[in-house]
């Protein structure tokens, strides 16, 4: 009996120590919140929209590669890529494989941004009135713009007047909550993708005010119009492109900077910037700086042959400089890697679009005549102005556009829509379209591959 007591005492203590406490295992993440808590209040929905801007500012999207790839693919001999990074080098040489790192990460980050936007759109019911319109408008603007860049890079060119049943990119319009078989989305047709882009951007144009009430650099109705003018131009829908470009110009909200150089490397948006990704020392990415600037890798070596394209006295030539390290020519458009914003659409482009579309569509001109619009651009860079409409033709307009917008991510797209060629490659050369990334084809059996690349062809 005594022995029993001797054992029972400690055993009792031990059994207390052994008592299970399930609550002991509860932990909560400190840097994250659970997904089902997100779409429960208006503030979170607003935050998700800001998250979407952060997502598209990524170095693989509007902070870099959405603007770099069209230059790499569109360049013939204007510049060489002398760096050791294989992925951009492959793209510059039009030898990109389907496992190219940049081809892959741009795709991944674009759809990541789309999922963020779709999440914000899913939470619209938590908002009311003008704020609901604003969030919906900005979200649709972002979605429309991202799909536009995706379809331009990863699918064959839109054919004006055609059925456009060629495969575009997968269209995902709902946020992902679970991942299952239905997540294997096939490629929508180019037509369906453009239809969605137009729908999103036109919604944005209608829903947004001319000035964003929260931040001047968030999207507004004019930004939507500016991107719409690009979309219509790409579709060779010149009258709509003209309408949208004219709407932006005639709003009077934007004005050309005094000098050409003044349009670049700005910490705050310039008067000419319709839309720019914001970069500060704390936040944002400027990957164009990485490759263009002598202060960084300086991998993009400009060739004299490109400088020869400019007329003598063109002030735009003054933006080029010799790399102090190796004497190679560099473009000075992307020289502020610390807090220089990444401009996406400038007013100059709207003038050039209006000039081109007015020229193509003929009299009556909308807004102003092509000669006046072109002279605005030429005058700023100290070039002689055109005196007569017969002084220039369409080729001159397109050349002006090329030189004005060079290194800003429009080269390839302009070549394609005007059916010109890149060196010996015609505009519809399969290597001027990116491959669907290998990881995506491996993960989604419903995807088919673009012509000339590894993987099951469409």
């Amino acid at each position: 009996m005594k022995k029993l007591k001797l054992i029972a005492g400690p055993l009792f203590i031990v059994s207390l120590l052994f008592t299970a406490c399930d609550g002991l295992l509860d932990t909560t993440p400190k840097q994250s919140i659970d997904a089902d808590e997100v779409l429960t209040n208006a503030e979170n929905v607003r935050s998700v929209l800001i998250g979407a801007y952060d997502a598209i500012g990524d170095g693989d999207l509007y902070g870099g590669y959405f603007l770099l790839i069209p230059e790499y693919l569109g360049a013939n001999n204007e510049f060489d890529f002398s760096g050791t990074y294989f992925s951009p080098r492959q793209i510059r040489l039009k030898e990109q494989q389907y496992d190219n790192g940049n081809v892959t990460s741009t795709w991944i980050d674009a759809y990541n941004a789309i999922n963020v936007v779709n999440t914000a759109l899913d939470g619209l019911d938590l908002l009311e009135g003008a704020e609901k319109d604003r969030v919906e408008g900005e979200a649709k603007f972002i979605r429309g713009m991202v799909y536009f860049d995706l379809v331009r890079l990863y699918a064959p060119q839109y054919v004006n007047g055609g059925q456009n049943t060629q495969p575009g990119v997968p269209l995902v319009l709902e946020p992902t909550t679970t991942i299952d078989e239905t997540s294997n989305v096939p490629r929508a047709t180019v037509n369906a993708v453009y239809t969605q882009i137009l729908s999103d951007l036109n919604d944005a144009k209608a829903l947004l005010d001319d000035t964003n009430p929260i931040r001047s650099y968030y999207a507004n109705s004019m930004v939507a119009s500016a991107v719409l003018s690009r979309v219509y131009l790409q579709m060779e829908d010149y009258s709509n492109a003209r309408l949208e470009a004219d709407r932006v110009i005639s709003s009077g909200k934007y004005s050309l900077t005094n000098t050409y150089a003044g349009a670049f490397n700005n910490v705050e948006n310039s008067t000419e910037d319709i839309f720019a990704m914001q970069v500060s020392a704390q936040d944002g990415t400027n990957s164009l700086f990485t490759f263009y600037s002598a202060d960084s890798r300086g991998d993009i070596d400009i060739n004299q042959i490109h400088l020869d394209e400019y007329e003598t006295g063109d002030d735009r030539l003054n933006l080029f400089y010799h790399d102090p390290d190796d004497g190679v020519l560099r473009s000075g458009k992307w020289n502020n890697g610390i807090d220089g914003n990444v401009q996406q659409i400038r007013l100059a482009e709207m003038y050039l679009t209006r000039a081109e579309t007015n020229f193509r569509l003929g009299i009556p001109y909308l807004g102003d005549s092509p000669i006046n619009d072109l002279n605005k651009i030429r005058n700023r860079v100290n070039l002689p102005i055109y005196n007569l409409p017969s002084d220039f033709d369409l080729a001159d307009i397109l050349k002006e556009r090329k030189l004005e917008l060079m290194f800003e991510g429009q080269l390839l797209h302009d070549i394609k829509r005007t059916k010109r060629s890149v060196g010996a490659r015609p505009y519809d050369d399969p290597k001027l379209v990116l491959p669907i990334p290998r990881r995506e084809i491996d993960a989604n059996p419903k995807l088919c591959q673009n012509a000339s690349y590894q993987g099951l062809s469409c």
Binding site: L6, I7, P10, L17, F18, A20, D22, L25, D26, T27, P29, K30, Q31, S32, D34, A35, E37, V38, N44, S47, V48, L49, I50, G51, A52, D54, A55, T84, Q97, W107, I108, Y111, I114, N115, V116, N118, P170, V172, P175, T176, T178, I179, S183, N184, V185, R215, Q278, S280, A281, Q282, D283, D325, D326, G327, G337, I338, E440, D442, A443, N444
Partner: protein, 1021 residues
């Protein structure tokens, strides 16, 4: 009568005693260890054929009374755990001093297992053990390196030759794809932090330990041993026991060591003349037309030469001379131990200072330890082990940065290292001390001069225990452990570096504070039920909590380069704090049953709860069962003269792996900022069913010993099958995510381990050998159709071993035109009939390499003659492939201006040339794309260590009043036999996370291992 009888009995007794006293002879002596002449306490001294005996005291002394017969004709038997039993004829000597040699078969050695220990003879599982003596005999800065080659079935690889870098350990193969396969580390019963906390390349938190403090390392390999650690046992468990004090006189040991090190190997690169020759030819043959002449000379050679005369090879830089430096190490240690029967202590202090073989790499460590045990009463013991340490690692940049020294080999040999200076006639007169800024790639010396990259770790591991013996059979033990790790990474790059040049300097500081605490409470019941039945059981509960807090600040714009702290940064560019935690709550039990000293049965079970897993599967059950049969105890075998021990073992059990992030089962949103406004973005989709991966392991083994234990060993065969793999399953990126952690797939490791220990010679000249070899075959049996990519060419592919290299197979050079050729193969696998192609993208990808070794092992020989001792360890790895990720730049037949390895001179030049180096074509990508061209055999045999020691003779010691003095000379990595073409076959680039199972067998300008020669002295007082 009765009284008389009593009396007579008394007198008989008296008489007997008197006779005994009269005839008795006393024999006395001292028993020491033959290894080191240390007195041995507790050695049993028995008169053969009687029960008469005694034991040695604290000073190794004994005294025994013998009858005259015994004194003349008797034999004494000296025996003790861990020593070879010795029989000595008394031969009428009054003093008999003996030296006992260590029993290398270790059948009686005590093996530490989780929550207890067991005598090796009675073990039914598989545990590899290494004792302090073996650990301390090799000069290394981390104990794992000392285990290399000494433990069968444990593959240990240092990732490179940078100091304090991460280490890969695989116990019986890799048993996971996406979760870490590193083992669990337990120090004195408390699981400790072993994962790298560095924000750049992995470092090794176990390098905070002082090897001199370690008593033993026991590695639990099979499931019956490891299942007591449940959901964390699948990768094996490494139990480290630190030294404790012994009652007796106070012992002081002082040790000093000084070593010198250099790289194990260099690779040959082109000199200036060869560089000009190869690149001139490459330019002539460029697909862009003949680029030799002014383009090549003005744009490139002149630029590299920076005004020096490259045509006459005025500059001929061997960049390896700049990358490497002479390494050294100085180690100093003091250990004091002793105490009384009631209170024992072990105190140690150490200082280690190492200079690495890579330029600017240094590492130093200060540490102290107090281990205290106190017996409050016969029933109650308490104690604590406490260690504090500070390590400082002055680091070099990660691989794949031109700032890391060894990547300097990519620079042209025409480039001066420092800025050249000229006289008025443009003649070179010397160099400034400013590193040349105009090199092909960023000159790493700019980084060496302008960067501070220091990692400082403050580590405090402590545990308290109380043990209460409730009665003779039942004991309760409570342990509380704390592991504190505070780590600072302080980084500053001045305005002359590429990191700081655009921002007037750049600095950041990152602190990680990790607090782990563990509570163990368990009961042990140990009973001899009857003469033939013995039962030991243990049951308990353990709770573990780990909390990690991190702060980070970065800034730019420093007034001058002399200001290196963020207080002087004009702009703070970033800052954050993060916190995360995990918890385990577990219940465990184990029983060991022994019948007739020959039939062994053991069972264990653990229920593990983890905060890491989904609500639907928070607890898991991990049972194990094992049995052993000591055949040599059977009567029918007792007469087999040569055979001294034979045991058959078998085990089966389940273990788990939960080495994944802390919240993998939840759907999560994280913060994101844009232009100063805060936002939210989805980061993870939920998987509430997520649970640990499960490994079922079967083990069958045989332990044997022959010839009085002079030959002994172990043979084991195992099958480890892992299912419910924690797999980062690729999902379509169109979902907004790239992967999701799911329980998908199965893999298998099968292997065979063989250990043999022999005592080849005993007596004055002693020679013992130990050989171990372990074969392991890994195969991914099911991945649910997933293909998961890893570093470079590594992939997880169904039906193949983990991390096979997958890509184009190089087919050599077309003798007609110098084109690189690739085997076409077919989309479903290898098919050499399909022929070759010179179009890289036309070739199908196939498995072209396997980074997993077929077998690994080691061979140790120890020799002792009089006062000399010699230890020689060979270590080998066989059958693994290494992919050189830098090959496409450095061995690319002049594709770009990177300096080329010298073997590229064998390039194809004329039709008919037979070579495996394609035609040199500048910018031509002729054979430079990733392929099997850059894979080579990574097998090696290495003379891992040689140590020659001399102990001062006792006579001299007595004069000097010292207990012992040993001088030694030691060499590490002295010789390496390998076909590997790179620097060193023991390599895995630190470019990727080391815990990533899909990054193995890759080299990328990785620092080679160090070859070290050192001398040292140990003095005992």
């Amino acid at each position: 009568m009765k009284k008389l009888l009593q009396l007579s009995n008394c007198s008989m007794l008296l008489l007997f005693v008197t006779v005994g006293t009269l005839q008795a002879q006393t024999v006395s002596g001292i028993v020491v260890s033959a290894e080191n002449n240390e007195p041995l306490t507790g050695i049993t001294v028995l008169v053969k054929g009687t029960n008469k005996g005694t034991a040695t005291d604290l000073d190794g002394k004994y005294e025994l009374d013998l009858t005259s017969n015994e004194f003349q004709n008797g034999t004494l038997i000296f025996s003790g755990v861990g020593y070879v039993q010795l029989e000595v004829n008394v031969n009428s000597r009054q003093t008999i001093d003996v030296a006992l040699s260590i029993d290398t078969q270790l059948l009686d050695e005590v093996v530490v297992v989780g929550f207890g220990s067991i005598v090796r003879k009675d073990m039914t599982g598989n545990v590899s053990s290494v004792k302090s003596k073996e650990l301390s005999s090799v000069p290394v800065n981390s104990f794992e390196t000392a285990l290399q080659g000494r433990t069968s079935g444990v593959f240990i690889q240092k990732s490179n030759g940078k100091l304090g870098q991460g280490i890969n350990i695989r116990v019986r193969g890799t048993s996971s794809v996406s979760a870490s396969s590193q083992p669990l580390y337990v120090i004195d019963g408390i699981p400790v932090i072993s994962e790298s906390q560095s924000q750049i390349a992995d470092t090794n938190p176990l390098s905070d330990l002082n090897v001199d403090d370690i008593q033993s390392v026991d590695i639990l390999k099979d499931a019956s041993a490891a299942a007591i650690y449940g959901s964390r046992g699948a990768n094996g468990v490494i139990l480290i026991t630190t030294k404790s004090g012994q009652a007796g006189s106070t012992r002081i040991n002082v040790s000093y060591e000084r070593g010198y090190s250099s790289e194990t190997n260099r690779v040959e690169y082109l000199n200036a003349a060869e560089y000009v020759e190869l690149f001139t030819e490459a330019a002539q043959r460029s697909p862009s037309g003949d680029l030799s002449g002014s383009y090549l000379e003005n744009n490139w050679f002149d630029y590299f030469a920076q005004g020096t005369d490259w045509k006459n090879n005025e500059i001929d830089t061997d960049w390896q001379d700049e990358s490497f430096q002479n390494g050294s190490n100085t180690d100093f240690g003091v250990q004091i131990s002793g105490g009384t029967e009631k209170t024992r202590f072990f105190v140690s202090g150490g200082y280690s200072d190492q200079i690495g073989i890579m330029r600017s790499n240094e590492f130093n460590r200060m540490n102290a330890r107090l281990n205290l045990d106190h017996s409050a009463s016969k029933k109650f013991d308490v104690g604590m082990n406490l260690s504090v340490s500070r390590t400082e690692n002055i680091r070099v940049s990660n691989d794949n940065q031109f700032a890391t020294p060894l990547q300097g080999v990519a620079q042209s040999p025409l480039s001066p290292v420092y800025t050249p200076e000229f006289d008025g006639n443009d003649n070179l007169i010397g160099f400034s001390d400013v590193p040349n800024k105009n090199t092909l790639y960023y000159n790493f010396l700019r980084h060496i001069k302008g960067v501070n990259n220091n990692q400082t770790v403050f580590r405090n591991i402590g545990n308290l225990y109380a043990n209460y013996n409730i009665n003779d059979n039942l004991a309760f033990r409570s342990e509380a452990g704390l592991d504190l790790l505070f780590q600072n990474e302080d980084y500053f790059a001045d305005s002359n570096t590429n990191t700081g040049e655009n921002t007037h300097g750049y600095g950041d500081s990152r602190w990680v504070n990790l607090v782990n605490y563990t509570l163990n409470n368990y009961l042990t019941w140990n009973q001899q039920i009857s003469e033939n039945h013995h039962l030991t059981t243990v049951a308990g509960i353990t709770f573990e909590n780990s909390n990690r807090y991190q702060t980070y600040v970065s800034g730019t714009n420093f007034p001058t380069d002399d200001f290196k702290k963020l207080a002087s940064a004009a702009e703070i560019t970033g800052g954050n704090t993060t916190e995360t935690e995990y918890k385990y709550l577990s219940y465990f039990a184990r029983a060991n049953y022994k019948l007739n000293d020959r039939y062994l049965l053991s069972g264990s079970a653990r229920i593990d709860g983890s905060s890491r897993f989904g609500d639907n599967s928070r607890y898991g059950f991990f049972p194990a069962i094992s049995a052993g049969w000591i055949i040599s105890e059977e009567n029918f075998l007792s007469d087999l003269g040569a055979l001294s021990f034979l045991k058959l073992r078998a085990s089966y059990g389940l273990t788990g792996n939960s080495n994944v992030g802390n919240f993998p089962s939840r759907g999560l949103y994280g913060g994101a900022g844009y232009a100063g406004s805060s936002g939210l973005i989805p980061t993870q989709t939920p998987n509430p069913d997520l649970k640990w991966e499960r490994t079922a392991q079967y083990n069958i083994g045989l332990d044997f010993a022959f010839l009085n234990d002079r030959v002994g060993g172990e043979i084991d065969y195992y099958i480890k099958q892992t299912d419910d793999l924690l797999l980062n399953v690729n999902v379509p990126a169109t979902t907004g995510y790239t992967s999701q952690l799911r329980n998908v797939g199965e893999l298998e490791n099968k292997g065979f381990e063989f250990v043999i220990n022999t005592q080849n010679s005993v007596g004055v000249f002693r020679w013992s050998s130990s050989f171990n070899i372990a074969f392991n075959k890994n195969k991914i049996t099911n991945l649910g159709g997933q293909v998961i990519e890893g570093g470079f060419l590594n992939r997880a592919v169904e039906g193949e071993p983990i991390a096979v290299m997958y890509g184009k197979e190089y087919a050599g050079v077309d003798p007609d035109n110098g084109d690189a050729l690739y085997y076409l193969h077919s989309s479903d696998g290898k098919n050499y009939d399909a022929g070759t192609t010179n179009v890289y993208s036309d070739a199908n990808n196939v498995v072209i390499g396997d980074p997993n070794p077929d077998f690994v092992g080691g061979f140790t020989n120890n020799f002792n003659y009089k006062n000399f001792d010699l230890g020689v360890l060979f270590q080998f790895v066989y059958g693994n492939d290494i992919y050189n990720g830098g090959g496409r730049y450095q061995s690319a037949n002049g594709d770009f201006f990177d300096n080329q390895t010298r073997d590229q001179l064998k390039r194809w030049q004329n039709p008919g040339d037979i070579t495996d180096v394609p035609e040199a074509r500048l910018f031509g990508s002729n054979g430079s794309n990733p392929s099997s061209r850059y894979i080579s055999d990574g097998s090696y045999l290495r003379l891992k260590s040689v140590t020659l020691g001399y102990s001062l003779p006792q006579s001299l010691l007595n004069k000097l009043q010292l207990r012992d003095v040993r001088l030694y000379l030691s060499g590490v990595n002295l010789l390496t036999f390998t076909d590997y073409k790179g620097w060193d076959p023991e390599v895995n680039t630190d470019l990727y996370d080391l815990s990533d199972n899909l990054n193995i067998g890759n080299d990328f300008y990785s620092a080679p291992q160090a070859r070290t020669i050192s001398f040292g002295i140990n003095i005992g007082f």
